[in-house]
Symmetry: C3
Subunit: 153 residues, 3 copies
């Protein structure tokens, strides 16, 4: 059942990030996969502005390396809540899927808040029997984006 496979992909993706296994994050993408984070406002007006943008696995790995080296941000972890997973189209070789999400961020001292929420728009392909993101677009409901967007969503 495709829906359950998509569920499993989202669950593994979320828990990989939440467990701070960020070096494995690029492996969820096709080699030439794209990752973007934008706001609902920009998305609605067709603007291409992205707060985070990676084109290809190499750029993703670079991003994680930089994050590990710099390490100047206050340590924090994410807890992803994914919901309303919906396959919009699976007729072509790509699967178009959408989901609602919220990320609860916990700072090192224990303070918790809703860091972000919104929608993910994904184009997913199957490569050697594994589902991978060809394009993952994260659209945030809020225009106030914390400067602390270092960890991918």
């Amino acid at each position: 059942m495709l829906r359950l496979r998509i569920d499993a992909l989202y669950a593994e993706y979320a828990q990989t990030i939440d467990d701070d296994r960020l070096e494995s994050w690029p492996e969820f993408f096709a080699a030439d996969g794209k990752y973007r984070v934008t706001t609902r406002e920009n998305f609605g007006s067709g603007l291409a502005l992205a707060m985070m943008y990676c084109d290809g696995r190499g750029m993703m790995s670079d991003r994680i390396s930089a994050l590990r080296l710099a390490n100047i941000y206050e340590p924090h972890v994410y807890c992803h809540l994914t919901s309303s997973v919906r396959i919009v189209d699976s007729a072509l070789k790509e699967i178009n899927a959408q989901a609602n999400f919220a990320v609860i961020r916990t700072m090192q001292e224990g303070e918790q808040s809703i860091f972000a929420c919104g929608r993910t728009y994904d184009r997913i392909v199957e490569v050697d029997g594994r589902l991978l993101f060809k394009d993952r677009l994260v659209v945030l409901d809020s225009r106030q984006v914390d400067t602390l967007l270092v960890i991918p969503i």
Copy 2:
């Protein structure tokens, strides 16, 4: 699989509201469908008080028209998180389903908060191969209901 069909119904319902496609909201209900929002306190004590009440699709459409015309509230969007979807009974012609939910509200300036959470109690029927709400009861955990309950949950 019925559970996956119910999941899909909930997901489409949530994303239709979250995308501000409110004119399509009544289409999720049977022609004589009911929609009510109440508090856990009223629900527990058997009180019929509802903070929002619609009897039939016409009344729902009227509500949305009024909301679009009046437009005196501060613009905001919802992000629904649905969870713990459970089919309680599907033996009769109706399906009784329940789910936990939370709604994160984002105001135009970007401020985010948990607007509401609680349980939905749904009676769902199949009409021409499509699942529709015959009765959707939204029970809010909190008695402090924001006066800003303009968009349906």
Copy 3:
């Protein structure tokens, strides 16, 4: 489908607690089942410190009885949001499953907040055709644990 059965187990478990039917909480566990709540910090460093610990159904029932008798805490209810349910291993007689969760707490006066979020690590067994927790480990993302941890998560 095992995933859907695990989903149903989590959903019933969550709604039993959220509905304040706490006397039924121990029935989700095997007779010798274990229940623990710890922090991510302790979990990561291998410390066995638990903020809540029950070994066997009897100890769970005792805990609920005490909670009902003492009743000195400010009344509140939980709303569980469960997400990213993942079966890690089901080859043996036990099923290893993980899920992300958040609990929104609503106090009697209506105040709402994210009470806790994190991960559950479960070992689940089948007894007489019913899935039961043999070991449920709740790992909280935050080290700041509210003193008000009286109701199980």
